[in-house]
């Protein structure tokens, strides 16, 4: 009996769950009475929930296996891709999205707008790292260093030379790109785990330098009073400047998506993907490995630098504690969760990873637990990411005629 086997399986899974969650769900130490409270009811709940969820999943899987026509096809034809494929639907979809994005701050509180700005910053950071990790396949665990370079560029240029947001923005982005090249040179020969370790080290070096080189960066106490971007010399109130920054970010996100999209569908984008697929074959086909890798590092870092400047302007205060390894991990999670190399995926990934913890605040202490569980489940059931990349298509129909 297959159904009986499924029930047995689900029962076993439920028992495991009860066992694994036992320390946090059942045992509770009461520090005042110095006793241990055994919350057996929780164990029952965990057991029952995991049993039914597991059973439902197994049955659904069986059902899908018997009716293959129901399941999504394997070529990544997800719902969003189907919409984006159809040019009319795509225009409508993007139009609605843009309208929603523009109207959002007028309906939301400035607190919510602020969260959305953070989310949009992470969208751009994710898209930047997506070039390095998703397309070129270079595992970079120190991406936050470039973010820090951008932020400190603005903070220091303002502190010493009184430069404004708009002058610092290109400088911060370019300095970060330069930083990307500086990191890229020594690691040209490295791949995979080795590269990950070196980039991790690079990220830490930048953070530690900022923390300890007091004369340069004011150390752990950070730099305060960084101005928000001005609007043609007008002074804006706090709410207005948040609104303004929000629209700046919307423009940035659109510009980034545009540029990254074009890069991917270009000669250099193909070279990045080829580099990810097979480095040796890539060279043997005439691709300059060094140039391609450095371009990936520089372009990835460029966006991070720009976002660093925006971040400094948003918080008006920065210190090295904002640029820890955890930050790199979050950006990397965005890319992996969204789907390596997929632009739509990374945008969704960033929004989910930044907004979910914010809105899960209601669950307060279980917030990070839920967050972790979501990541684990994602990796089990959809390792290719939320919205994996689709194959690029080229206009082959009109290739036969030789018009220029």
């Amino acid at each position: 009996m297959p159904i009986l086997a499924e029930i047995r399986f689900a029962l076993r899974a439920a028992l495991w769950f009860v066992f694994l969650t036992f320390p946090i769900m059942v045992i509770k130490a009461d520090p005042i009475g110095q006793t241990v409270i055994w919350r057996w009811r929780n164990a029952v709940w965990v057991g029952a929930c995991s049993f039914f969820v597991c059973l439902a999943l197994r049955l659904w899987k069986n059902y899908r296996a018997k009716h293959p026509a129901l399941g999504p096809s394997n070529d990544g034809g997800s719902f969003i891709h189907r919409i984006l494929d159809h040019s009319g639907q795509r225009r409508a979809f993007l139009g609605i999205l843009l309208a929603a994005a523009i109207l959002f701050p007028f309906f939301a509180s400035s607190y919510q707008t602020n969260i959305m700005i953070t989310a949009l910053i992470y969208v751009v950071l994710g898209l930047g790292l997506n070039i390095v990790v998703g397309m070129a396949g270079l595992l970079d665990l120190g991406f936050v260093a470039f973010y820090a370079i951008g932020a400190y560029t603005y903070a220091l240029l303002h502190l010493h030379f009184g430069l404004g947001f708009w002058q610092s923005l290109p400088l911060g982005a370019c300095l970060a790109a330069l930083g990307g090249i500086c990191l890229g040179f020594p690691v040209l020969r490295l791949r995979g785990d080795y590269l990950a370790i070196v980039t991790l080290g690079f990220g830490e070096i930048i953070r530690l330098a900022l923390e300890n080189w007091g004369e340069f960066s004011q150390g752990p106490s950070g730099i305060a009073n960084i101005p928000r971007p001005g609007f043609f010399g007008m002074t804006l109130s706090l709410d207005q400047s948040i609104l303004f920054l929000y629209f700046i970010m919307i423009v940035f996100v659109i510009a980034t998506i545009f540029v990254v999209n074009r890069l991917r569908d270009s000669r250099i984008g193909r070279a990045w993907i080829a580099l990810r697929e097979d480095e040796i074959a890539c060279q043997a086909m005439g691709i300059d490995k060094q140039k391609t890798k450095l371009a990936a590092f520089a372009l990835g870092a460029f966006w991070a630098g720009g976002m660093g400047v925006v971040f400094a302007a948003k918080t008006t205060f920065i210190n090295p504690a904002s640029f820890t390894f955890l930050e790199s991990v979050i950006i990397l999670s965005i890319v992996v969760l969204g789907g390596m190399g997929s632009i739509v995926g990374v945008v969704c990934g960033a929004l989910i990873l930044v907004l979910l913890p914010e809105y899960l605040r209601a669950l307060s202490e279980y917030r990070m637990l839920a967050f972790g569980a979501i990541l684990v489940l994602m990796m089990i059931f959809r390792p290719q990411g939320l919205i994996p990349t689709i194959k690029s298509r080229y206009p082959l129909e009109n290739l036969t005629d030789d018009r220029p």
Binding site: E277, A284, P395
Partner: protein
């Protein structure tokens, strides 16, 4: 033989104490199909790796004399520079870009014949557009040539084994090589696929393409090549047309061993 396209003289390659190539001489003429055979471990693939810049040879000289270009030394150049000079290869164990489409794989081959970089990619000026169109068009024409046009939009790793081999050849051809190096193109193929491959190589050669191939399938080697080089222990032990090689005692010895060797 006309002016040779590839001229290898006294090529040496040592790994520590092991001498993988002990002074190899080799020549490939224009439009020729030349085969390189020898027992396993004879140094054939090492020779290929030296030619294509994967290894830097310890000694000797490699001169490529691409038609319409100045002759140039290839030793010590980076692999991608060598491809630019006009030497392209396929691999013994297939090395395609699995998660790229069949068409994109060939387009990568066109990479070294195009120029646009970051700014071109972002702003797409007419020159870049023309270049992209040219890349797509030439790549698709090559797919047609190797009979893979119907699979242009599929991922390369979803192709059958024989088709993957043909795709590797198309990708190498996309670099417009003066000389095409094929490393065991028929390895692991069934007889029908081998026949198809033989026909494909003949067709490529008919277009004037010079080919140097390593192969163990003697039927393919004998039917295709105009000249054969035989290597053993990093040295050339014989060279000549197929009929002469078949009768050469040194070759027979290398492949079958001497009687007292066999007894040992």
């Amino acid at each position: 033989m006309s002016q040779p396209i590839l001229q290898v003289s006294a090529l040496r390659m040592t790994f520590g104490g092991v001498q993988a190539l002990a002074g190899v001489d080799l020549e490939v003429g224009e439009g020729e199909i030349v085969a390189l055979i020898g027992p396993n471990g004879a140094g054939k693939t090492t020779l290929f790796n030296c030619l294509t810049g994967m290894y830097t040879p310890t000694g000797g000289d490699i001169i490529l004399n691409a038609p319409g270009k100045k002759p140039c030394h290839l030793n010590g150049l980076k692999p991608n520079k060598i491809v630019e000079r006009g030497l392209a290869r396929t691999f013994q164990n297939i090395r395609l870009f699995g998660r790229m489409t069949v068409l994109e794989n060939v387009m990568i081959g066109r990479h070294c014949r195009a120029k646009s970089f970051i700014l071109g990619a972002i702003f797409r000026p007419p020159a870049t557009r023309r270049e992209e169109r040219d890349i797509t068009m030439k790549s698709f024409a090559l797919l047609r040539k190797v009979g893979l046009a119907d699979f242009a939009g599929e991922f390369a790793d979803s192709l059958s084994y024989g088709a993957q081999r043909r795709l590797e050849i198309a990708r190498a051809l996309a670099t417009e090589p003066a000389l095409l190096l094929l490393d065991e193109p028929a390895a692991g193929m069934n007889p029908r696929e081998t026949v198809e491959l033989t026909r494909l190589i003949q067709q490529i050669s008919a277009d004037g393409q010079a080919v140097l191939l390593i192969e163990h399938d003697m039927k393919l080697v004998m039917s295709l090549s105009q000249r054969i080089y035989v290597m053993d222990y990093g040295k050339r032990i014989a060279c000549g047309p197929p009929a002469a090689i078949r009768a050469n005692p040194a070759v027979i010895k290398a492949y079958l061993g001497e009687e007292d060797d066999a007894a040992a």
